[in-house]
């Protein structure tokens, strides 16, 4: 039977259906791999092999995802399981319901399995802000896996999961996918219900998949997408098979290269790999067009106003009343709130709540929040204009390779700048995907580089078709070298 952990979901399902092996075998293979590798990587905050095995034994492999285990970021509610958001304030919390994506995955036969580490409340780019543990990059354990969905990316990269779910508010799926050498998809805003994802910045958050192939991400999205009465921002669209446009070539596709995404200051080795990948796209038949997104330089500023403002409102619910940490022996209600939140939240979360509260406060709202919302309009218009002449954009996912653990923890602004190529997509509500496009030798280890494709709102089928064509030609070997 061999080591099943190398398989993609499509390969796994083919094996299930032919009877070569069973979902229980697939879970046992993960168990062995996790026990061997996770003590060094630290991707999982919790896992329950017994219940996954029990579900696997009952699985119907004829279902769309029958018997496929899927790892879950510890910010998405799965009935009866912990959902800590890697925060002390939610220590011991047990989800009283399934998030809509989880209900949809379960209905398709998938097995949600394990709780994956993240930056506390998804605030960060390195997973170092977890209150529980540091997750290491499987390619080099002295380096960060990216974030905030670092556990989800590292688990797929280290073959401790066939696929996982993460959430992307400013790049939290695409950036760790890039740094861990796997595929990560951020759907368009409104494509996937956010119900049951603990809210960080509600106008930016989207749930999306990580996998070791674009096709697997597409299969998961086909199940996850759809209107949900519990999320009024989810869009009512007909079901789609997101693998339907995987033709393997790029003839007739116009790919835009945004000038502002090739800036001084990015790692020249990243740039070289991305430029090589763009040439591969041309070889596959794509027509390359240089485009401009003139307001790119403002995206990070806009993001850190809007995201923190929304976070300060969303995280007001953590007040130690109905759930979560409550300080002992409060002198009065104000003391109860202030100490519960002081004891429960970590530094980055406090920093962002303070910033968000400030930009919304009386006298500063117009200068910061309203102004940021107007610049958001300009950023969105940049993409609308670019998409009038091209089918998708191609650019780097991250300006850097995975950096060393501890290197940026004391410099929040520098950490924020790492998200420069991913943030604008969330502000504009468009879809994006990161696919591995090369390995760079760095002090004796190989580190992956990600190529990002950005698509029009709700144009995931085409985006995934383009990413798959590139993957077949340019990424297969990298995906095969996963450590």
């Amino acid at each position: 039977m061999g080591d099943l952990t190398h398989l993609t979901i499509s390969e796994l399902q083919a094996g299930f259906r032919k009877g070569d092996f069973t979902p229980a075998d697939a879970v046992r293979a993960l168990e062995a791999r996790i026990q061997a590798v996770d003590p060094q990587i630290g991707a999982f905050l919790a896992r329950d092999f017994d219940s996954a095995l029990a579900a696997a034994k009952k699985a119907d492999v004829s279902q769309p995802l029958g018997g496929v285990p899927i790892g879950i970021k510890d910010a998405i509610n799965v009935l009866g399981e912990q959902c800590t958001c890697a925060s002390k304030i939610l220590a011991g919390y047990k989800a009283p319901y399934d998030a809509t994506v989880i209900a949809r995955l379960k209905a398709a036969g998938a097995i949600p399995f394990g709780r994956l580490n993240l930056d506390e409340f998804a605030m960060g780019s390195s997973t170092e802000n977890s209150a529980y543990q540091i997750t290491k990059n499987p390619w080099d354990p002295t380096r960060i896996p990216g974030g905030s969905s670092g556990g989800s990316a590292a688990a797929v990269s280290a073959r401790m999961a066939y696929a996982t779910l993460g959430s992307d508010t400013g790049g939290s799926i695409r950036q760790p996918a890039s740094l861990c050498g796997v595929v990560g998809l951020k759907p368009s805003y409104g494509r996937v219900s956010r119900y049951g994802l603990v809210a960080f910045a509600s106008s930016l958050d989207q749930i999306g998949p990580f996998a070791r192939s674009t096709r697997d991400c597409a299969s998961l999205l086909s199940v996850m997408a759809g209107k949900d009465p519990h999320d009024s921002t989810s869009l009512d669209l007909p079901p789609e098979d997101f693998t339907s446009r995987m033709t393997g070539d790029l003839r007739g596709i116009r790919l835009g290269i945004p000038r502002e995404y090739f800036v001084d200051g990015m790692d020249p080795r990243v740039r070289a790999k991305v430029e090589e990948a763009i040439k591969t796209c041309e070889t596959l038949g794509a027509e390359l067009v240089e485009v401009s997104l003139p307001h790119t330089e403002y995206a990070i500023g806009v993001y850190y106003i809007i995201a923190t403002a929304e976070a300060s409102a969303n995280l007001a619910r953590f007040d130690g009343v109905r759930y979560g940490h409550r300080a002992k022996n409060p002198t009065d209600l104000l003391d109860h709130y202030r100490r519960s939140r002081e004891e429960g939240f970590g530094s980055e979360v406090k920093r962002r709540i303070i910033l968000g509260t400030y930009v919304l406060s009386s006298g500063y709202y117009d200068a910061y929040y309203l102004r940021a919302q107007k610049v958001r309009t300009l950023i969105r218009q940049d993409f609308t204009r670019a998409f009038e002449t091209v089918d998708a954009l191609v650019c780097p996912t991250s300006p850097d390779l995975a950096f060393k653990i501890g290197e940026r923890v004391n410099d929040p602004l520098r950490m924020y700048l790492a998200d420069i190529f991913t943030i604008a997509a969330n502000l504009a509500g468009i879809c994006g995907i990161s696919v591995p496009c090369g390995l760079v030798e760095e002090k004796g280890t190989s580190l992956p580089v990600g190529l990002q494709f950005l698509g029009k709102p709700l144009d995931e089928s085409r985006l995934l078709g383009i990413a798959d064509a590139y993957e077949q030609a340019g990424a297969k070997e990298i995906l095969a070298q996963i450590p």
């Binding site: 919390y93 047990k94 009283p96 319901y97 805003y189 409104g190 106008s203 009024s232 921002t233 869009l235 330089e297 403002y298 990070i300 500023g301 850190y304 106003i305 007001a316 007040d319 130690g320 009343v321 109905r322 759930y323 979560g324 940490h325 409550r326 409060p330 009065d332 209600l333 104000l334 202030r338 100490r339 939140r341 002081e342 530094s347 406090k350 920093r351 709540i353 303070i354 910033l355 509260t357 400030y358 406060s361 500063y364 910061y368 309203l370 102004r371 940021a372 919302q373 107007k374 610049v375 958001r376 309009t377 969105r380 929040p412 602004l413 924020y416 502000l427 504009a428 468009i430 709102p457």
Partner: protein
């Protein structure tokens, strides 16, 4: 900068978070740099630009005003820091 207007201690009070003196000082300087960075938004002429709150143009999503099943009481109370008689115990609100 600068950001002479940001008083972390005061904002923390609004946000209902107790901060240590050390945290207050660290945040004052770190958030000062972040605010200095976002000052760049001031360079743009935004006359006539409408704000975007949300990437999709959806407004006022209505549903029938019908009762739907909620969460199970035991599951909800199991997460409460303190409970008694099927109710959440809270810190005294009124003197």
């Amino acid at each position: 900068m600068s950001s002479p207007n940001l008083d972390v201690r005061d904002v923390a009070r609004l946000a209902r978070i107790e901060l240590t003196d050390k945290e207050t000082d660290t945040f004052q300087s770190q958030l000062g740099s972040v605010l200095e960075y976002v000052e760049q938004l001031g360079k743009l002429d935004l006359t006539g630009v409408e704000p975007t709150a949300h990437a999709n143009p959806i407004f006022n999503v209505f549903r029938e005003d019908a009762v739907e099943p909620g969460l199970r009481r035991e599951a909800v109370l199991a997460n409460a820091p303190q409970s008694a008689n099927n109710l959440v115990l809270v810190t005294k609100v009124l003197e």
